[in-house]
Homo-oligomer: 433 residues x 2
């Protein structure tokens, strides 16, 4: 049986799980690909640290040693971050090694460049683990969508923020309490910015959008809003409207322009995605012929992420065994067969809106606000107004579909009224049109 | 660019959609696989019938002509049924043609035999379209599950029955009204037996179980219950318990034995699968390392099913272009690497149960029934008892987990009581343990 050597760069939770799976489930892996797949070398910062049952002699401090080992056929990059990972991957490609990576940041920033190098070298790259952990969304876009065009991608692809939102929804927690709880449980990092500000989701969305729309998107071109401004009130009102709040990543081919954004959105409880809770991820693809496909599963965790890494290893092992390396191009398409889409400005998007005004509890306020909305062409679907004893009160409006720019203009005007006591909160409704 | 010829057997809704996609989206297909893919010949019962824009000269009455055409590389079997499809496929394999099929019945009955012939001939077989239409469940099991073992498969894989159940749930329709409506809308056939009796779902489950557990299962070995006995009352009670009723197909490796069945089940409204409505399908896979993956999408319809057929065509086209035919074995595993599991008897399964008794509305009846349940080791979770003016009344019990055999024994006893006025209805609870 052919031997295939794996070089691991990085050995945290995922790396250890990859080693464990390739060792303990070696029989399954070889029955899947017809080769014996073994970890040859592992680059880590601290080679003397004990890591489970992994023999000490496999460790080295230098990634170059791993990448240049003649026994290594596939380099699995799990370092994360930009510079070192980039250096190691480009060096490995030069040496005709195949690449498997979970690095969404690098793919979002340098994906196109890496894909060109990969094609030129005639090697494989697998990156299923970079988006939504164990969920086979990259495979589905690259392989299962074969004759249709993707109209939209839509999903929950950051487990940390979904954990926090689920806690706020179910237990009425404040944002900061929910974040603290997530940190205690290891679902959020000590610096949670990337997750709660929507940046991690935007990196992943950029990876997906490039595959789905042939459009490399820079982070600055994605409209991004995080979840830190949401208050328990918003979740209570959402419930009254039969909705939940989710941090959604969305990319849509809207009449030939790419509408791409990450922000909190209110979703009806009747849709399966509303029931995707905790650290679970979900991606919905709308495809011209196949309709709506939704994939749900664990978005993080060592074993789950490792399972995606190993599926990519097995794909390449099959290609090595059969001499068909490069069988599928990095994007699933022959190069130069697709034109990038121009970007749609967020100003011009249309959506329904949840608007929570904070206003003085006195006569005439609702009339004034409704007047401003009407003057900007925004029609009201429903209103919740509740009096409270003294002080400012929330006034909540759901709008019918309206143009973002008009909504922003109206809010600006409303926020400058003397009866308005705090910045208006805007959450888009997502009804899966 | 290499030319790849397709021979279609059958040209109903799906066949026409395959032709249309390969023609109208020829650019996407060739950008995906690097070959020009064209339909060469189509076998149909009535070649003179006009079918959309398909040129008349492609049609023939004889499948042998399609299968033996030297220009045909891939035979797409869409005839359905057993004998003719079997004859055509085996003949095609003999002639070293690759096979793509949507025929779950044939795969359920003769899958193992066909897979052996496929391996011996060194050709490919794709059958994504045989289960859950556009949903890439076969691809996920064959390719995305690479190091883990599948613990269970669990899903809604018959669109017709799900349409009927959704109608009964949402509109309080009776079974026969809902069936009539489904027939009017073309979601149910004039003889709906296969769909409503659970047989179609069982065929599909057999296909999945063979892939997932390496166990060829005969139809007679699957415990099958259909949906015809469900009444609007059951849906009302389900709602009171925070549940919906779905026809579930399930296969589970339960301590080394295969528990495999198709029956209506009550599912909590908090689970995404409870929101899978109408003709949509869903499959949940529980995997040792990847956790729970759920795939949701259109389970039927010409275009959606054709999209799965074309993904299989593109897979094989990639293999033809790269000379890697046979790259993935029919089951995803090298032959003889797995041992079939013995079957678990339905008597020994454990589940929670919904039991709807129809009893006289008089004192002591509940005590008697509770007594019989208790004597059989069945503990009660909750009870709904409602008096009505005269006549028999429903008495509903939800049990904690109990052994099926004991439940059946208890029901037999209860059904023989003089105070019991109709056969007891049993629906299993499915709580995704």
């Amino acid at each position: 049986m052919k031997k295939i050597g794996i070089g691991l760069l990085g050995c945290g939770v995922v790396g250890e799980a990859v080693y464990r799976a390739l060792t303990e489930n070696a029989d399954i892996v070889s029955a899947k690909c017809g080769a014996s797949v073994k970890v040859i070398k592992i680059a880590v910062r601290n080679p003397s640290k004990k890591r489970g049952k992994i023999p000490a002699h496999l460790f080295t401090r230098k990634w170059r040693e791993v990448v240049s080992s003649p026994e290594v056929d596939i380099v699995v990059e799990l370092i994360g971050g930009e510079d070192e990972a980039y250096a190691a991957i480009t060096e490995a490609i030069k040496l005709k090694k195949h690449i498997v990576t979970a690095n969404k940041l690098l793919l979002a920033k340098k994906g196109e460049e890496l894909f060109k190098l990969i094609r030129k070298a005639g090697v494989n790259i697998g990156f299923e683990a970079s988006v939504a952990g164990a969920v086979p969304v990259i495979r589905t876009i690259r392989e299962a969508v074969a004759s249709g065009r993707i109209i939209s991608i839509f999903g929950i692809i950051n487990g940390t923020s979904n954990y926090i939102l689920t806690d706020m929804m179910e237990n009425g927690s404040s944002f900061s309490d929910a974040l603290g709880e997530a940190q205690r449980l290891g679902y959020a990092e000590s610096d949670p910015t990337f997750d709660i500000a929507g940046i991690d989701a935007a990196h992943k969305l950029a990876v997906l959008a490039n595959l789905a729309f042939g459009t490399p998107v820079k982070l600055k071109d994605i409209y991004i809003e995080g979840i830190a401004l949401l208050s328990p009130d918003d979740f209570l009102f959402a419930r009254q409207f039969g909705r939940v709040i989710k941090l959604l990543a969305m990319a849509r081919n809207d009449g030939g322009k790419l509408d791409i954004r990450v922000h909190p959105a209110m979703v009806s409880v009747n849709r399966p995605i509303s029931r995707v809770d905790g650290v679970t991820n979900a991606v919905e693809l709308e495809i011209t012929d196949a309709g709506r496909l939704m994939l749900i599963g664990p978005g993080a965790g060592g074993e789950a992420t490792a399972s995606a890494v190993i599926a990519d290893i097995v794909d390449t092992a099959r290609d090595i065994v059969r001499g068909s390396v490069g069988r599928i191009s990095p994007t699933g398409f022959l190069p130069d067969t697709r034109k990038p889409l121009p970007l749609k400005s967020t100003d011009s998007i249309k959506s329904g809106y949840y608007l929570r005004f904070t206003v003085d509890d006195k006569p005439g306020v609702l009339a004034k606000i409704a007047g401003i909305l009407g003057a900007n062409g925004i029609s009201i679907d429903s209103v919740i107004q509740k009096g409270r004893s003294g002080g400012p009160v929330p006034l909540v409006v759901l709008t019918h579909e309206a143009v973002e720019k008009s909504v922003r203009t109206a809010i600006k005007k409303i926020d400058s009224l003397s009866s308005t006591r705090a910045k208006t909160i805007l959450i888009r409704l997502e009804d899966g049109r």
